[in-house]
Chain length 228, copies 2
């Protein structure tokens, strides 16, 4: 692991305020591993050994029940995952796989729990992170239950466009398949919803999404700060 990557991790909300010696201890105990695309990282039902942090690549959290599979979240670099399972020392409720080649920092669960006990700043950061993730999950639940598929897509386009340098034309970082499942719909339905949104100022051009009428898109999406 290079110094730039260590600095990147140190800069994360979870680690930026803790004492330097404790951070060093975490990093000494940690493993830094690379995984290929479509690699299964964790399986629901197993016990957590390590807190995971995405350093490079994209990782999907998902659940399987019978024939069904749902995506819980798609994570980009800088995200910690399975924090709740590590804290409670209880089985994973979700599985994780890489969607691209990825590098993951893995900190032994026991070391995380030990340092939580003696570093107040780290404890505060953990509880803050967990509360943030909790609220993210409430938002996800609201998004799924209070909006139709086309509204979810419209909001996704609206909010993703705001994070781009060119807000009128951009290329999603994930495949349409992954986008569909992260929005809780089938690829077929995603395609239909894109067609539907042409009425509301959004066009597809190859892999690009073009927003021809941001006002119309926003009017249809009705973004809500308590959901998004």
């Amino acid at each position: 692991m290079r110094q730039a990557e260590i600095d990147q991790v140190r800069g994360l909300r979870l680690f930026c305020d803790m004492r330097a010696d404790n951070f060093a201890e975490l990093m000494n105990a940690a493993k830094f591993e690379s995984f290929p695309k479509d690699f299964s990282l964790i399986n629901e039902g197993d016990l957590p050994d390590f807190l995971h942090i995405v350093v490079h690549g994209t990782i999907e959290m998902f659940c399987i029940h019978g024939e069904q599979e749902i995506t819980i979240e798609i994570m980009q670099p800088g995200t910690t995952f399975i924090l709740a399972a590590v804290i409670r020392d209880d089985v994973y409720l979700t599985s994780a796989r890489t969607l691209t080649a990825a590098q993951v920092l893995m900190i032994p669960a026991q070391v995380v729990r030990d340092i939580f006990e003696r570093d107040v700043a780290f404890a505060r950061a953990i509880v803050n992170e967990l509360a943030l993730r909790f609220r993210g999950l409430v938002r996800a639940l609201k998004n799924k239950q209070l909006r139709t598929g086309s509204e979810r897509l419209a909001n996704w386009i609206f909010h993703t466009s705001l994070q781009q340098e060119d807000q009128k034309r951009f290329k999603p970082a994930i495949s349409k398949q992954s986008l569909a499942s992260s929005l809780g719909m089938t690829p077929e339905h995603l395609s239909r919803n894109f067609t539907f949104l042409e009425q509301h100022g959004v066009k597809r051009l190859g892999k690009y999404i073009i927003i021809e009428d941001p006002i119309a898109l926003k009017a249809f999406a009705k973004p809500n700060s308590l959901i998004d």
Copy 2:
């Protein structure tokens, strides 16, 4: 507030391990209030002043968006709520109302945050509670997305019956309307699903639910420890 109620609160996971003086400080700062049925306790979008703990009665957390309303959770005595909003000092994402007359203990948010800083046992309990609630929300999301309405009802009946003294015949603690919304369906659909479950060993008799064939119910419900 009577001593019995203080003891009840002291016995909760969140408070049972903390130092006595810090607990006393929390309780001194706290208000204990009674509310009538159908009273609005908190509104999404407002800022949190108090951590709430249900002492008596039943409280519903819900969200509204446009014409739609969904139930996030129905809480019985002993449950803390809006912990995540208190910790982050950020707006509520959900609203709360009483479903019955209720008594609620309210601890000023700032006092909770102060004592978190200096009582490690309390900090540990907070993070444990939050992790537990996080996992509960993941389970709720999985339950909603991976099961049909009749499967959710079957699992609710199955798990609720296990908590009753008479596991073959019991009366739900909440109304059918509240049950329907907590299972994410309309009252009409709940009724149809009850009818449907007669094929799988469940009968209605007035307000009572009777399980005639627990094996058949379980076989249909397919309970899963990673969801329920």
